[in-house]
């Protein structure tokens, strides 16, 4: 039984100019303990997908629709606000991009750690305190006991993100959504945080949706990956399949513009052009204007999701086997 099932999720924003479909028919399932990557450039709908799942997009102006949005048997679309609040933090937790701003500056670290424990696990103050110390130790903050009385501004970005992770994991959620959780950090800290999340979630059996535009990160971390473009999933499959045998022009483009140590000297290949206007309902592949591998058929029909060997599928008409590196 899947932990999270999303079928045909569509999130649209009503604006003065018209309806913007930030997420347009996204479907996927997530098994318990699975690590899923969600990649794509800015504005491709990764974050809105995550926020829609948690029902955190403000409605109105947004509108979240889906054929199915099920978390552990709860219909997130029709759940009462109270039931949703019970799930947030204890069933699904989220870590945000900017650790400098995601902690409340006027509350002590200890209080912010204790809050969800008291809210979801009905802990007494003293028990919450003890647990808060354990949590801080768990995410590798030294002198955890003394740190409880500290305030966010006394912590560095990396430490704050550790605290955010501690808070997110405090109530043993089954799903952790990390929305660009390392983007705002130094590379060295990034590696630490990634490793921390990886080991912790593995030990706790937490499923993770890792949202990032860093392909290398997703490749090293995830079991499966969804590539998003213009609010849709254009390619999905096991990480190795998608990266070694990309089956969508956009994925090829993304891989082409990622710097690689083993190809020093070869220039990076940017994806030309800009993401499409999400207001226009395109009759053709939304990536077509920027696509390097388009075939004549692309100008005639809208591609549909096509299954490929190895649990891999893509919304692309071109045959891309010639682009696959290392035919080993």
């Amino acid at each position: 039984m899947a932990l999270l099932s999303v079928r045909n999720l569509t999130t649209s924003f009503a604006t003065d100019q018209g309806l913007i479909r930030a997420v347009n028919g996204v479907s996927f399932t997530l098994e318990p303990g699975e690590v899923l990557g969600l990649v794509g450039e800015s504005g491709s709908g990764k974050s809105v997908t995550a926020l829609s799942i948690m029902r955190l997009v403000r409605e109105p102006p947004a509108k979240v629709e889906a054929e199915l949005l099920d978390f552990e048997g709860t219909d997130l679309l029709r759940a009462a606000p109270r039931a949703l609040r019970d799930i947030r933090g204890s069933g699904i937790a989220m870590v945000f991009q900017d650790p400098m701003r995601s902690l409340n500056p006027v509350l002590s670290i200890g209080r912010q750690l204790a809050e969800p424990l008291i809210r979801h696990l009905r802990m007494e103050a003293a028990a919450a305190r003890r647990r808060a110390i354990e949590l801080l130790e768990m995410v590798g903050i030294p002198m955890a006991e003394k740190r409880l009385g500290s305030y966010p501004h006394q912590f560095s970005g990396g430490m704050r993100q550790r605290v955010m992770i501690a808070i997110a994991l405090s109530c043993n959620p089954r799903l952790l959504i990390a929305d660009e959780a390392t983007t705002a950090l130094d590379v060295t800290i990034q590696a630490q945080i990634v490793e921390l999340v990886r080991t912790l979630t593995k030990n706790l059996g937490t499923a993770v949706i890792w949202i990032s535009h860093d392909l290398g990160l997703v490749a090293g971390l995830c079991d499966r990956v969804n590539v998003m473009y213009a609010g849709r999933i254009v390619e999905t499959g096991p990480v190795r399949e998608v990266f070694y045998r990309p089956a969508h022009g956009y994925t090829i483009g993304l891989i082409g513009c990622t710097p690689r140590v083993d190809r020093v000297g070869t220039p990076l290949k940017p994806i030309n052009g800009l993401p499409p206007n999400l207001m226009d309902e395109a009759p053709l592949c939304p990536f077509l204007p920027r696509c390097d591998v388009a075939v004549p058929a692309c100008h005639q029909t809208m591609p549909v999701l096509r299954s490929l060997p190895g649990g891999h599928s893509a919304v692309c008409l071109a045959d891309l086997t010639s682009h696959h590196r290392g035919a080993h």
Binding site: R88, P105, L107, S108, G110, E115, K146, G149, Y151
Partner: protein
């Protein structure tokens, strides 16, 4: 305390220490406030003024309304420390009794405008949409009246009673405060930590009180200290128009208004209430600033940080 914690204390003792430390936020804030010299002195002055107001009947050398024309317009002397006014009334005694009116006006008006302005502004800013529109248009309607005229109209309607004066001045201040609170709420609710709190299952009420209100206290504090001073002045204006404190009863503003006619001949007459009003306003401003800083951990000074690390 750090030493105790590292030792192997029993579970109960440990719990007690941990519980103690739960209150440390408020303790650190008050410690920070007391370390702030202007704030502490402001608090002391304010306390003394309040004490003087309460104890006025006991410590006043003369009856504040007893007319004694033979002793009129006397400069400060040992008998009349601050001189006498044009009816021969002791200025010091009038100041002491006047403090009762002026201070209670200031405090009550602040309490009044806070208890309406803050909830209205927060509700509007937090709920947005129609609620926001209705509340803010209502506040705009109040703002269209010239403030003093509105107060005059209210007091004129209800009669010149101290409680009505407080309500009238308070009503004038509510929309100003509500607008400021709304604007601050609007920006605070977009902060990532509010989204993070929502992602942890916090209810709207909890987000409003714990996350938003705590973060917009600074502008509220500043506005309240301004409101306190404005209320004392407004009471003076109303008294001047015959709608505030009724003669012969004293209030700082009323005495100041009367003293204006003798400015050249008897400067002590207006200097005394002016200095007192200034003292009160200044100290409330210092207290407000101190509170603002004490409530914001980011402005705590290094010594407090070390202290917080050591508990």
């Amino acid at each position: 305390m750090a030493a105790i914690l590292t030792n192997d204390t029993g579970k109960a003792a440990r719990d007690e220490i941990l519980t103690l430390r739960f209150a440390s936020g408020a303790r650190l804030a008050s410690r920070q406030f007391l370390r702030n010299l202007p704030a502490t002195s402001g608090l002391v002055v304010l306390a003394l003024l309040c004490l003087a107001a309460i104890a006025a009947p006991l410590i006043s050398p003369f009856d504040p309304i007893q007319i004694k024309l033979s002793a009129k317009l006397q400069p400060p002397s040992w008998a009349h420390l601050l001189g006498t006014d044009h009816f021969g009334r002791d200025v010091l005694s009038r100041l002491l009794y006047g403090a009762r009116v002026s201070l209670s006006i200031g405090l009550m008006v602040v309490a009044f405008s806070t208890s309406f302005g803050v909830p209205i502004g927060m509700t509007a800013g937090f709920m947005r949409g129609n609620v926001d529109n209705v509340l803010m248009r209502l506040m705009d309607a109040f703002l269209t009246f010239p403030p003093l005229l509105l107060a005059v109209a209210i007091v004129g309607l209800l009669g010149p009673d101290l409680r009505n004066v407080m309500a009238a001045i308070g009503v004038v201040q509510v929309p100003v405060l509500a607008r400021i609170v709304r604007a601050s709420t609007l920006s605070a609710r977009e902060e990532t930590y509010v989204m993070a709190a929502r992602a942890l299952g916090a209810s709207p009420l909890r987000i409003a009180t714990r996350h938003i209100l705590r973060n917009i206290l600074s502008p509220i504090m500043v506005q309240l200290t301004i409101g306190f001073s404005a209320a004392i002045i407004a009471e003076a204006s109303l008294s001047f128009l015959g709608l505030g404190t009724q003669p012969p009863n004293p209030s700082w503003g009323r005495d100041l208004a009367e003293a204006r006619r003798y400015m050249a001949d008897a400067p002590w007459l207006f200097l005394a209430p002016t200095a007192t009003i200034m003292l009160a306003v200044l100290s409330i401003n210092f207290v407000g600033d101190g509170l603002r800083d004490a409530l914001d951990p980011r402005s705590w000074r290094t010594r407090a940080r070390v202290a917080s690390a050591k508990g």
